[in-house]
């Protein structure tokens, strides 16, 4: 009396097939779960027992062994409740053998009364199962939305165990979920650039950053609108493609933040962890190697407000994932790789009190305090922030003015155009946008005309730019040229890029003169 039920497990955002085997034999009544179960899986015994009884079935008073194969991979979570319950019912012949038992993938947590509860990570599991030839999935109603975006998979959403057993018995208690189609046009952004008053320079910088995928550093006095600008940036990033949305949803699904939503990410994520965040929460970690903020911000914006207040090692830990676009988290019991391609928007005050450079308020910081504050951001980190923008103070006239700025949709149009130029140009390089250019590639792709060359030389002489500022200016000039549709980088592109250069010469450098 053996039954085999198909289910699925997760490692990072990739899934692996799990075969749930239930074996009921004569002997002293006992219940064993084997196959590297974690605590939640081991506890499933009690849930399964109660759910089976409360659904009107018998729980076998025999020796029960449940094996989760492959036995060498760790199984986590409550997702195996349903397959175990079905497996036991099949092994004790309380449900008749049916081809559906072999075909279907079973996922879901059971409540004691037999109702089904949603579980995290459904989307990557279903995608994985589809890849392995499974075409039918039975899962909790709560998870139906995210799974039904996968074309070619029949999704049956159930409320409780009873419905499933009836369905397996041939009754039409469950109906196939309608396959949903994903439409990027339906996105409604919560913030719009039109609502930002003034800040023309910063808005332009945000546009450039969005167009070239550059990381952005906003410096400004408190209340100058750094946070508002950052929050609006997702609205000018190119619309999500289905593949991107799928990947974002996968991560959200694993992190368990998807429950109760429409099922599929429609907006680019915007994450703004507090500056007290630990390295593990930012990068990912925990005993189960869960995705961190940088992965949750995948294809979106990671906004770090009060940048210098973050712990130094936390910021330094960001550097490697920023470079690679993925992060691998290793723990004693788990090892997961999560994608982490985010646009970093960092915001900071110019000094601890915030008023340095302000024309209306007095800065109370000593020079030493200011240099210590700024010194918390390392050179290599600064190196990765291509555009540095100083936000002007917002005056009363700006706030009170009725005139609306350019709407995000118009800016997004330009960004899209610039991005498609870049995709075309970097087809053979395996990168997507200018920010990813390596120094070797800048030589090939950032071709300056004569005037631009001269201007850049002049910039070096008079601004004392560092070598790292050089590549940065080149990349940003490239994006500005792309926004204008120019193949070559011209003098005025470089000239504009220089305005968004490093604050190095002003803040990070010698502030005396």
């Amino acid at each position: 009396m053996l039954a085999k039920i198909k289910s699925y497990g997760l490692m990072g955002i990739e899934g692996f097939a799990v075969s749930v085997e239930a074996y009921v034999s004569r002997g002293m009544p006992a219940y064993d779960t084997v196959g590297l179960p974690d605590a939640a899986v081991r506890e499933s015994k009690e849930r399964v027992r109660a759910a089976i009884r409360n659904s009107g079935f018998e729980f076998p008073v025999q020796r029960v062994t449940v094996n989760l194969a492959p036995a060498d991979l760790r199984k986590e979570g409550s997702v195996y409740d349903l397959p175990i319950a079905i497996g036991l019912l099949a092994a004790t012949e309380q449900i008749a053998p049916s081809p559906l038992l072999e075909e279907c993938l079973f996922l879901g947590e059971l409540a004691l009364d037999g109702t089904l509860r949603g579980v995290p990570g459904i989307l990557p599991m279903v995608i994985g199962a589809y890849g392995q030839g499974i075409r039918k999935v039975i899962l909790p109603r709560e998870n139906a939305a995210e799974a039904s975006y996968i074309e070619g998979v029949e999704v049956y959403a159930a409320e409780n165990l009873r419905q499933i057993t009836a369905f397996l018995g041939g009754e039409p208690t469950l109906t196939k979920e309608k396959t949903r189609t994903w439409d990027s046009a339906s996105i409604a952004y919560s913030m719009d650039f039109a609502d930002i008053r003034g800040q023309q320079g910063a808005k332009r910088a945000a546009e450039i950053a969005a167009a070239g995928g550059h990381n952005l550093l906003l410096v400004g006095t408190p209340g100058s609108g750094k946070t508002m600008l950052a929050r609006s940036i997702p609205s000018i990033l190119p619309e999500l493609t289905f593949e991107e949305a799928l990947e974002i949803t996968k991560i959200q699904s694993v992190a368990g933040t998807l429950r109760g939503t429409e099922g599929m990410a429609s907006e680019r994520p915007f994450r703004s962890p507090h500056h007290s965040a630990s390295t593990a929460s930012l990068i990912g970690g925990g005993t189960r190697a869960m995705p961190g903020e940088i992965s949750l911000a995948h294809y979106g914006v990671l906004f770090l407000d009060e940048f210098p207040e973050f712990r130094k090692e936390t910021l330094e830990a960001l550097r490697q994932p920023m470079e690679d676009g993925v992060v691998t988290i290793t723990r004693a019991t788990a090892r997961s790789t999560y994608p982490a391609q985010f646009m970093l928007v960092a915001a900071m005050n110019p000094c601890p009190c915030g008023n340095f450079g302000s024309r209306t308020a007095q800065c109370r910081c000593s020079q030493g305090q200011i240099s210590r504050y700024l010194g918390r951001i390392s050179g290599p980190m600064l190196d990765r922030l291509d555009l540095h923008v100083e936000m002007s103070e917002v005056g009363y006239e700006d706030i009170a003015s009725k005139s609306r700025g350019e709407p995000s949709a118009v800016i997004r149009e330009r960004v899209n155009k610039a991005r498609s130029i870049q995709v075309e140009r970097y087809k053979k390089e395996g990168i997507l946008f200018n920010a990813q250019l390596t120094s070797r590639m800048t030589g090939n792709f950032c071709i300056l005309d004569e005037g631009a060359e001269r201007l850049l030389q002049k910039a070096f002489a008079s601004l004392h730019l560092s070598a790292r500022a050089y590549t940065r200016i080149l990349k940003v000039s490239r994006t500005i040229a792309d926004l204008e549709g120019s193949e070559k980088i011209l003098a005025h592109h470089v000239a504009e890029a220089v305005q968004y250069r490093s604050l190095e010469s002003k803040y990070w450098g010698d502030t005396r003169r």
Binding site: Q200, G357, L455, S462, E496, K506, R512
Partner: protein, 392 residues
């Protein structure tokens, strides 16, 4: 550098070493001995100082312990080692202006070559000046030093060190600046002023009333300020907020009967509230050019040499030339500039503007404005300062 001292001088300095700064205590200690430091020394050796000296018990112990030839020799050797000379208030080389004040430091420690400056002018101001303050401090220091003045400043952040730099830029002046420290002369505080410190030591002098090795303390700076004003004939205030340490120097200067000059600032500028108030109350003379200061001291020092053969009216004319500080433009070259640059120049001529304000006032597109500003920055017609504020 003077490192060999007369016998009497050695005892005077020794007393300064053991008593530390404080003019009153020094005088009071010497009074019972008729000002003879050697007698004081001998009495201290015998542990028999009269109570009229007014020295506290714990200090007395220290004096007794240090009243030996060996100790004194050690002190002078140490000074020599660090290249520091010492000046007692009773020595003839002591700056004559400083000697006049109510509480002159009993002993001055000095690095570099302290000379009797003909026209010492103090320049004080905010530690975090605006771009305007920076420019003015530099410019006035340079112009005054070129006219023969010696700039006295505090070698702290901001106006202090900018003034010293400005003075050092006057290459013809062979004693352009004195820096007065609020710590021992061998200490560089703030530490990143090291390069300026070295430059001043080569061409000017660095002085302090504190024993070498004394670390800076907040309470020392007001004490230092009285030396800055005491050394100077006049004190120029570049930028000062309403309540600032700069105004302590001004108070000292007024008490010591020194002239105070102040640069006008914008009404809404917090960093100019102090200077504007000084001008309003009549405590300071309105100053818009170096000539405004120099004309007060006609007949002194190089200002005299320069102007003596000339007619009386000439300096007035010169004043008119340098007076309109802000309106310094090059009309000829301006004609050749592109239209956008001229537009921006005209706006900035009325005062500094932020990027957003420029954007609104010029009506130029952001990319165009960005690149135009860069070009102007490079050609040196315009400067950008923190907060993305542009000024000429």
């Amino acid at each position: 550098m003077k490192l060999d001292y007369e016998r009497e001088e050695r005892f005077l300095l020794w007393l300064g070493f053991v008593l530390g700064p404080g003019a009153k205590q020094y005088e009071r200690a010497l009074a019972p001995f008729g000002g003879n430091a050697e007698d004081f020394f001998n009495a201290a050796q015998k542990r028999a100082l009269p109570p009229e000296c007014g020295i506290k018990a714990e200090v007395l112990e220290r004096i007794f312990a240090s009243a030996s030839e060996r100790y004194m020799l050690g002190c002078f050797r140490r000074l020599q080692e660090y290249d520091i000379s010492a000046l007692s208030v009773r020595m003839p080389d002591y700056p004559s202006l400083l000697k006049e004040i109510y509480d002159p430091p009993p002993v001055l420690y000095c690095r570099g070559e302290l000379q009797e400056a003909e026209l010492p002018i103090g320049i004080v101001g905010s530690r975090s000046p605006s771009e305007y303050g920076r420019n003015m401090a530099y410019r006035f220091a340079k112009e005054l030093a070129e006219a023969g003045a010696c700039i006295v400043s505090g070698l702290a952040y901001g106006v202090d060190c900018i003034a010293a730099l400005g003075a050092l830029a006057a290459e013809k002046n062979d004693f352009p600046t004195i820096a007065v420290l609020g710590c021992g002369v061998d200490m560089v505080y703030p530490a990143n002023n090291r390069d300026i410190y070295d430059k001043i030591m080569r061409r000017g002098a660095i002085i302090s009333e504190f024993l070498p090795g004394t670390a800076a303390k907040p309470s020392y700076f007001p004490m230092r300020n009285r030396i800055i004003s005491g050394l100077s004939r006049g004190v120029l205030v570049v930028e000062a907020a309403e309540k600032s340490g700069t105004l302590i120097t001004v108070d000292c200067a007024l008490e010591q009967g020194r002239d105070v000059f102040a640069l006008p600032g914008r009404l809404i500028d917090a960093k100019s509230e102090g200077t504007n108030e000084l001008l309003r109350s009549g405590q300071a003379k309105f100053t818009s050019a170096a000539e405004d200061i120099l004309e007060e001291y006609r007949g002194i020092g190089m200002a005299q040499k320069k102007n003596e053969p000339k007619t009386v009216k000439k300096p007035k004319k010169k004043a008119a030339k340098t007076a309109p500080v802000q309106k310094e433009e090059l009309p000829k070259e301006r004609e050749e500039l592109p239209a956008e640059q001229r537009l921006i120049l005209n706006i900035l001529a009325k005062g500094e503007k932020s990027f957003d304000e420029l954007c609104e006032l010029t009506g130029l597109s952001v990319p165009l404005l960005n690149s135009t500003l860069t070009e102007m920055e490079f050609s040196g017609i315009m400067k950008q300062s923190p907060g993305r504020v542009y000024s000429l």
